[in-house]
């Protein structure tokens, strides 16, 4: 009988939650609807979209963005940002190429790359938490720094003679699903559990919303932020491995500009740029949405500029939408001012 009651109270609670007019939830529904809409439109209207190999390619093509978006979600929910992820990716690629040229075995190089990512993240984290600098400024700085370092290490050469065992792995599939998508799914599940079902996740939301109150509640604000940056760096270097093997080419300019795609996906997914709000499923749907849009537009032979325009439009819409109500009210109230006595 107890279990019965329990279940009953749980369902009513869930019912209540779904009834709440929570903007975020509605936002995710919107993104999902948009995703379904775009997929249906592309399947019907774009030649070559709705076949297995294109879908596999599309999924594979979002791997790096998806990976980095996972940790970026945590970072932005904590009211920070890491704009250096794509540069960290580039630096890690450069280190990989350099060490490969130097004759190290790839199995030794990969952990070193992850370590490079960790060090990059730790550097960001230290500047933010120890010196109290805003992460926007810090990571704009390291955005240039890490990329510059990548060029110093590898110059503009491309290291391409990578072991086929690994390049093959990066593009392999299990059935119709790319192996890398499986990797993303596993890590996404992990990140979602951390963010939504652990004390650490609760703490991240709390400190992103009100750092002082979080600190007064005994949450180790600085420590958590530091490790979030480290996680972000490690994830960027993991993405660098995928990137390098997928394109079978390690270059210093690998992944230039990806940080914007990552931030775009996270914000479009409903994460508040001010911190404290957002969900991981929302972000994953947004990553897919942006991937599908890009893929469909490329297949439809739309120019690259238009592509960027559409991505930008979606992003602006996502940042604007939650505030539209307030802006509308502000715009209309001065007009009313004249009317009343």
């Amino acid at each position: 009988m107890t279990t019965d009651r329990l279940r009953q109270s749980m369902t009513t609670d869930r019912l209540r939650q779904s009834v709440t007019t929570d903007l975020l939830r509605r936002w995710e529904t919107l993104i999902l609807a948009l995703l379904v809409g775009v997929v249906v439109w592309a399947s019907l209207g774009v030649d070559g979209f709705a076949n297995g190999s294109n879908i596999s390619f599309l999924l594979l093509d979002t791997t790096e963005i998806a990976l980095m978006a996972l940790t970026m979600t945590l970072v932005i929910v904590a009211a920070e940002i890491d704009l250096s992820v794509a540069s960290t990716l580039g630096l890690s690629c450069a280190v990989l190429g350099w060490l490969w040229n130097a004759g190290l075995p790839i199995e030794a190089i990969m952990p070193i790359c992850l370590l490079v990512g960790a060090v990059c993240g730790a550097f960001n984290g230290l500047l933010v938490t120890r010196l109290g600098l805003p992460s926007l400024a810090v990571t704009i700085g390291t955005f240039a720094l890490f990329r510059g370092l990548a060029y110093v290490i590898l110059g503009d050469q491309a290291v391409a003679d990578l072991p086929p065992a690994y390049t093959g792995l990066a593009t392999a599939s299990v059935g119709p699903v790319p192996l890398m998508t499986v990797l993303v799914a596993v890590l996404a599940a992990l990140a979602a559990v951390v963010l939504h079902a652990t004390g650490l996740g609760r703490s991240i939301f709390a400190l992103g919303s009100n750092e002082e109150a979080a600190y007064f509640s005994g949450i180790r604000v600085k420590r958590i932020k530091f490790w979030l940056f480290v996680a972000s760096g490690v994830m960027a270097s993991l993405a660098s491995l995928v990137y390098t093997f997928r394109y079978a080419s390690a270059r210093a300019d690998n992944g230039v500009g990806l940080e914007l795609a990552v931030v775009a996906a996270v914000l479009l997914g409903g994460v508040s740029i001010f911190g404290g709000r957002g969900t991981l499923p929302g972000v994953l749907m947004a990553v897919l949405l942006l991937g599908v849009v890009r893929n469909a537009l490329i297949l439809a032979d739309v120019a690259n500029e238009v592509l960027n325009f559409v991505t930008g439009l979606l992003l602006v819409a996502s940042v604007l939408a939650p505030n539209l109500g307030a802006i509308w009210r502000r715009r209309t109230s001065p007009q009313m001012e004249g009317k009343s006595p």
């Binding site: 329990l6 749980m10 609670d13 209540r16 939650q17 709440t20 559990v193 079902a197 652990t198 004390g199 996740g201 609760r202 703490s203 939301f205 709390a206 919303s209 009100n210 002082e212 109150a213 979080a214 600190y215 007064f216 509640s217 005994g218 949450i219 180790r220 404290g276 709000r277 009210r329 209309t332 109230s333 001065p334 009313m336 001012e337 009317k339 009343s340 006595p341």
Partner: protein
């Protein structure tokens, strides 16, 4: 003097979803009169203020300005109609000067840009009119809350406000500052302003106001002339029943020393502070606002570091500057500023209650939602929290109910020492009695309670011992038997009593 009211509400209602915050309330504000709005936490006072100031639109009913119906589409409309509101937390621009704040958006023009001289002169004139001394050139940052409120009042005056609404202006003021504010309010009343005043302190209403309107659960109860009723009448109108004792102090026997603070010093803030709190004891830390009481509490709890001295909980020395270590040792702090420090306003009630004890909610590596909800439910019931859903963000709760959430968050940890900083600030009489009963019960179960309070009756009514601070030093320790208003105040103002 029953002429037309300057501003009136007639049959106004406002609901937020299922919560009917204000139901069919009428209210009349007359020129030259201070009108009090009384009611328990969540009675709908602030909501009514927001209707008068154009923030909320009433669902039904009318706003009457000089007897004629008006509609306020936003705060700008209300301002234009001469309605000014002083909120509890003033909203000045910290980097602008006092003068610039007063004239924000309406700077007098000179041929080239803004006429600073004229602006400064009229600011000075406003302060003379209010009878207060403030430097017009000082930046707003660094002003005390009391001074900031005066700047807001000057701003209202400069706009020729005819109606001045003050929502709990005295909650964070010291006795002296309250007296000054009342001086200003009385002057404005003489000058023909209509004032609306909200406070949870009965004596303030009786000192300042001529008329009082009481709300209960959003509904109108009565409107009386203050001269015709007694404080007990008013309490009965607010709570709808007879109130139990306001200070239900239980006799307890003090046990072992739970908290021991020795020679604690933080340079420039407090010096050489030593005291002990025993199990089962309620010790009050009294003093004037700014004496360093909250700062001591913050240091003990590890928010700020200390320069010298030591803190022990149950005989174990605390690591400095670590709230986590303090909590692990059994310490809890209900901070002074509940909106900034006590709560994460955007998070739900249940998440806030769970926040200080996340470890206890884990089942394996994951948080148990069931445990989280159960903990919130239990404490909400125990503290008689008024809420719609546990998943609502705490910012929709009324002030007093927010305070209960902070208490719940810390009591759920079952601390052995609890420090409460102004635990009943902004809390209505009924809830105040409840909080007092709760603290008393806690002490009864062997918890050591350190209570910082600026309200003397609370200090005298609840404390087994009173510690008094003055300018960063502990200047007196007074036993319950010897504690009187005079002895505590004498020590607090630095007149060292015998």
């Amino acid at each position: 003097m029953e002429d037309t009211p300057v501003l009136a509400l007639s049959g106004v209602s406002k609901a937020f979803g299922a919560v009917r915050a204000v139901r069919d309330v009428s209210l009349e504000l007359y020129a030259g009169e201070v009108h009090a709005l009384a009611g328990e936490n969540g009675a709908g006072k602030s909501t009514l203020v927001k209707i008068l100031s154009g923030v909320h639109r009433p669902d039904t009913g009318q706003i009457l300005l000089d007897g004629a119906p008006v509609e306020f589409a936003g705060p700008a409309d209300a301002q234009q109609a001469g309605v000014a509101v002083i909120y509890q937390e003033p909203t000045l621009f910290p980097d602008l000067s006092v003068t610039e704040n007063i004239f924000m958006g309406r700077q007098p023009r000179a041929r080239l840009g803004i006429d600073r001289r004229a602006m400064r002169a009229s600011a000075a004139e406003l302060f003379t009119r209010l009878g207060v001394q403030l430097d017009p050139d000082q930046p707003a940052r660094g002003l005390s809350i009391a001074d900031q409120q005066l700047v807001e009042i000057a701003k209202a005056l400069s706009r020729q406000a005819r109606v001045l609404i003050m929502d709990e202006p005295t909650a964070a003021l010291s006795g002296k500052e309250v007296a000054r504010l009342f001086g200003v309010a009385k002057a404005l009343r003489e000058q023909g302003c209509a004032l609306l005043f909200i406070s949870h302190r009965l004596e303030e209403m009786f000192e300042l106001c001529q008329r009082v309107t009481t709300l209960r659960d959003g509904a109108f109860v009565a409107s009386d002339m203050i001269a015709d009723i007694t404080p007990d009448d008013l309490v009965r109108r607010m709570v709808g029943r007879e109130l139990d004792a306001l200070f239900p102090k239980q006799e307890t026997t003090a046990g072992e020393v739970a908290l021991s603070v020795r020679r604690l010093t933080r340079e420039g803030v407090f010096t050489d502070v030593s005291f002990e709190v025993r199990r089962g004891e309620i010790v009050a830390l009294a003093g004037l606002v700014g004496a360093g009481r909250s700062e001591v509490a913050r240091a003990v709890f590890g928010i700020d570091r200390w320069d010298a001295g030591s803190v022990e909980v149950d005989g174990k020395r605390l690591r400095p500057a670590s709230p986590t270590a303090a909590m692990a040792a059994g310490l809890a702090l209900v901070p002074e500023d509940r909106r900034q420090q006590g709560l994460v306003m955007d998070l739900s009630i249940e998440r806030n209650i769970g926040l200080a004890g996340l470890a206890a909610l884990h089942r394996g590596p994951l948080i148990s939602r069931l445990a989280e909800r159960q903990r919130a439910k239990d404490w909400a019931v125990r503290l008689q929290l008024k809420f719609a859903r546990l998943t609502d963000p705490v910012n929709v709760l009324s002030g007093g109910n927010q305070q209960k959430v902070v208490l719940a968050k810390w009591l759920a940890r079952k601390p052995s020492v609890i420090i409460v900083d102004e635990p009943t600030r902004g809390i209505d009489v009924g809830t105040k009695a409840e909080v007092h009963r709760l603290l008393s019960e806690l002490a009864g179960t062997g918890v050591a309670v350190l209570m910082i309070s600026s309200e003397l009756p609370e200090v005298l009514g609840m404390a087994d011992r009173v510690l008094v601070m003055h300018e960063g030093r502990l200047v007196a320790e007074i036993d319950r038997a010897d504690a009187t208003e005079e002895s505590v105040m004498a020590a607090a103002t630095g007149r060292t009593a015998a």
